[in-house]
Each structure stands twice: as C-alpha cells, then as structure tokens.
C-alpha cells in the first residue's frame, strides 16, 4: 500500500446550531486524485478548511503528509496549495503580480518563481493577459489565475475547491488536462466538485458526503457498478434521494 498523504480520523465539527462534520474518517494515498462530492453545506469545504489549518475540528484528528494539522500547521502550510471556492485574487494587481506575491509568500527563489510562473501561465492559457490588471479579467480567467496561485509553490498536496466553476468548456478541459499532469507528477490532489463528469473523468476515488457524513467511498466505476446505475449522478441521487444540483 502506498504512503498516506492525508489521514482523517473521526473528524467532527460542530457549530452552535449545526453539525458540519459528523465523524469523518478517511485515508488518501500519496499521488491519489481524490474527489469529494456532495451538495453545498454537505461539509466538503469544512474538511478542506480543517486540513489547511483554517478551522479547528471539534474532535478527531487529521494529518497531512504525516504532520498534524492542528499541532504542526506551519509544516502543513509549506506542503499544501489551496484553490479556494471564492475567486480570491487581488483585482488591482496584474496576473503576474498576483502570482509573484504568492510566490514570495512561499519564499520562492526569484528564478524558480519566474520559471514556474511562466509555465503555469502558459498551461492555463493566461500568458497574453498576464500583464493586465485582474479587474479586467473574466470570471473564468480569474478562476484559472486562482488555480495558478494555489499551485505556484509546486505543493505536494493540492486542495482544489470547485476549480472549474464558471469556466467555459474549453477552459475546463484545459484545467482537467493540467490536473491530470499534476497527478502524473505524483502530487496528491483533493478535488471538490459539483460536476459529476469531472469527478468521473479525473478522480481515482471519490467520497460522497451528505449532512457531514461520508456515505459512499470508492472508485467512480465501482460506485456506479455497486449502485447498478449509469453514472455518478445517479449514484448520488440513489444514496441521498436528491439531485446533485438541487443542493446548489
């Protein structure tokens, strides 16, 4: 069995009036591309926030590359890259300036940063727009830039929270190709998405979360097969009684 990149043990997160996570236990292997599926409010983003050290779990534990996310947060932050659900980029900076800023926050060497920046801009199709202020970008371009910011330091573990939302089909496929390339580099990727075809196309395994619980876990093929349906969307409907997009 491969080395574990992420390990969650009985994670519980309770807010005053709601339970966001209700005992999630999950192991994700190094180099695995894992899909977290579920409607809004299911608990996907809470899991990512806990693994990034942004939110403390009410109980349970989690490690990233062997580092405890609560006790060794700084070690974890050095190893991860996160593409947030929000398109968080500075509108008054250019694309290049945004990338350089985050490269510097990871204390990247100037030459390394430039090489990686140019490569990522080319992969994401933003080369020509790189010198323009982000306030002039379209929504899809901002999403692609946001993805670059998450990956600028070449992280071992990437959390991609809805990375292709608001993208046109062409951009979406460009991102898919890039994610596949990351996987080939043995990077661990945790992808949350509402697009079932995206999960089926990219993920080695998927976990379906609903009401803070992990209700299904396996390869897309196995889940479809076990449920005796045509695709992941139907698996979801069968398991939760809801259409995936109803939760949106």
């Amino acid at each position: 069995m491969k080395e574990s990149a992420i390990l969650m043990e009985n994670l519980v997160k309770k807010y005053e009036d709601a339970t966001a996570l209700d005992g999630i236990s999950l192991q994700i292997e190094k180099g695995e591309l894992f899909g977290l599926l579920g409607p809004n409010g299911a608990g996907k983003t809470t899991i990512i926030n806990i693994l990034c050290g942004l939110v403390k779990p009410t109980s349970g534990s989690a490690t990233v590359c062997g580092y405890d996310v609560q006790e060794q947060t700084n070690k974890v932050k050095d190893l991860i890259g996160v593409c947030l659900q929000e398109t968080a980029v500075y509108p008054y900076l250019t694309g290049t300036e945004n990338i350089d800023l985050f490269g510097n926050l990871y204390t990247m060497n100037k030459d390394t940063l430039k090489a990686r920046r140019d490569m990522l801009l080319q992969k994401m199709g933003l080369e020509e727009e790189a010198k323009r202020k982000v306030s002039k970008y379209s929504g899809g371009m901002k999403r692609r830039l946001s993805l670059i910011l998450a990956l600028i330091q070449d992280p071992n573990v990437a959390f991609l929270d809805e990375p292709t939302v608001a993208m046109d089909p062409q951009s979406r496929h460009a991102v898919w190709d890039f994610v596949k390339e990351l996987k080939k580099q043995d990077k661990t990727i945790i992808l949350t998405t509402h697009y079932m075809e995206e999960a089926e196309e990219l993920c080695d395994r998927v976990g379906i979360i609903d009401h803070g619980k992990l209700i299904a876990l396996g390869t897309p093929k196995d889940l479809v097969s076990e449920a005796g349906v045509k695709n992941l969307e139907e698996v979801f409907i069968k398991l939760t009684g809801r259409n995936m997009r109803e939760g949106l």
């Binding site: 990034c52 050290g53 942004l54 700084n74 932050k77 050095d78 991860i80 996160v82 947030l84 929000e86 398109t87 968080a88 980029v89 500075y90 509108p91 008054y92 900076l93 300036e97 350089d100 800023l101 985050f102 510097n104 926050l105 990871y106 204390t107 202020k133 910011l149």
Partner: protein, 387 residues
Amino acid sequence: MRPQRVFALTKKEIKRNVREPAVLFMIFLFPIIFVVAFGSSFGGGGNQSVTYQLGVVDWDQPQNPQQDMSQVFITTLTNTKIVNVKTYLDNQTAQSDLSQGKVQAIIIIPSDFSTSINSYQNSPTNSAAWVNTTLPLYLDRGSLIATQAIPPILQQVLNTLINQNQQTPSSPITLQTASLIEVKQFSALDFIAPGMFTFASIFLIMIVGQSFTQDRENGMMKRIRITPTTPTEFITSQVISYMGVALIQAALVFVMVYALGFRPNVGIPTYAFAFLLVLLFSLSNVGFGLITATIAKSSGAATGLAFLFVIPQLFLGTFVGASLSSAAQIAGQFVPSYYVTDALTSLFLRGAAITSQAILIDLAAVSVSCAAILAVGIALYSKYFKI
C-alpha cells in the same frame, strides 16, 4: 520573520493605495482639499479663553523703594483679571516656559523702569527730562490670541500707569514686541499648519478599515492565512506601508503649506522630528483601522464606522480644535492627535527645542497611546477574524 514576505505584502499594499482611485483620493487628495477648505474657514481663530498667562521678569531697580513702579505695574496687570502673572527671576527660565507653551507671553521690566516713570511724572510735558526705556515683549507665536490680544492689554496698563491718554503719542516707555526667533506677522496658515499634518494622517483609519474588510470579504485574508505567512509578518507589512503613506501625506501637506507661505524658522532636525511624530501617530490610525475592521461587517460599513474614530481626532486634536470651547479642548487631551498637534505647534511656532519638557511629554503621550491603540487593534482583529 521572513523579510521576503513582508516586502512582498508591503509592495502589494502600496500598489493598492496607488492604483485604486478611491483609495488614492481618500489618502492624498481629500486631506489636501479639506485642509485648504478648513484653512480658509478657521483661519480667524475663535478661542473663547479670556485669561492669558503672562510671564514677568522684573529687573527693576527703583531708586526709592517707596516708588517701586514695577510692583504697581504687576498689580495693575493682575487686577485686570485678564492676565495671570507669573514672575520669573531670570529670563532663561521664562523663555523656556514660553517655548513650551506654559506662558503665552513674557515681558521684561528693565532696571530703569521706575526711574523712567518717575521722570515722566515729574515732567510730563518736558520730554527732554524723561528717562526713556524699553520693555521687551516675547509672544507665543503658536497662539493667535496671544499675538493679537496681549500687546494692547499691556499697552493699556502702561498707559494707565503713567496716567497717559492713549491718544498721547509720546511716552518714555516703549513696548517692544520681540520674538523667540524673528519678528514677523503670522498668517492664519501659520497657526493651522501644525494641525494639518495631523489631519491628513487621520484618514488612514478609514483606509485601513476598508482594506482589511475588503480582503476579508473577497477571501484574500483566507488565502493569505493558507500560506506560511505569520500574523507578525502580515501586520508588519501593513504598518510599514501605512507609515509610508503617512510620510508621503506629511510631505505633501508640507509642500502645500510651504507653497502657501508657511515658513517655520526651524532646522532639519526639527523637521525630522516632526515627521517622526506623524509616523508614530500613523500607528494609532492603523490600530483604529483594525478596530474598525473588527466591528464592521463589510467594507461599506467600515467607511461609516471609521468616523467614530475620525471625528473625535479631527475635531479635538487638529487645527479644528482651536476654534472649539475650552471643554472640547480639555476633551482633546484624550485623543492622540491632540499631542501631535501640540508638539508640532510648539516646534514650529514657539520654537521649542526637541528636548524640551513639553515636547518630551507630548512624544511620550503619542508613543504610549499609539502603541496601546495598535496593540488593542491587533488583539481585537486577531481574536475575531484571525490574521
């Protein structure tokens, strides 16, 4: 702390201030426009105080102790109820107090004062028999009221003393207005200029409040928290960038008031010290900005809430405060801007030394209050939103 991170974040914040038109306007143009408008509106003063602190250095040596006219002069001054007289044994102590604003004017009674008055009283119509003398008067150049009100009061008392009608043109006694530095006619601008430096910096509160709430709203704060950037690095970058803004603001205001005719006769160390005070003051504004960002739920709300801190500092601690009631001026002692303006007034207009007691007290008040406000701002923001 990694300088690379601090530098990158500082650079980012500077770019924001330069590239966002609204921010650019608020930081640089608005204070200047406002200063010009206020400068012309409040230039006339309006202090309601009716008593003046007058220092008297009595060197009079009457030939006949029964005719000690300097004591009669001091008693007459005191009886006017307009002047509080403080007597000094030496001119140096008196000048020191004047430079620190403890008295608003100093008059030196010369050794032949009684002799001069007696000579006049003995031969009021024979000017050849008079013993002429001069009373040097030193005025607080930082007080518009002192320069305008005290000389006529003193002249009136002197006239009374020698039973001379004001219309009588000649007298053996001349009141000579001297100055700590040079005699010049002060304009309204001279009196409000120190407060202008403070004024410009106050609006940083709004900008800092908006900046933090905006970054929170659009997810940038979260994105930065995901990186290994520490809260210390982040806050340091903010403080550096806004101190830079404060410095530029002070320089702009200086250029503007200089162009309008403000010419304080002080050296480079005094200017450097004045800029240091403004920089220290900017720390409290970053602190107030953080408190604003803690309270405000959105950047729009931050704009409004910032006025909770802007208005008191503006009205109680800048040139605006000089036109308010004495009660408001006492209240001003509870805002940091008051001490900055007071110190700048002492430095630029009274010619106070950097090491004088009044300046050191102001510096201590500014340092302590600004450090405390910044600490409270950081603690509150960190507690509720994390940096």
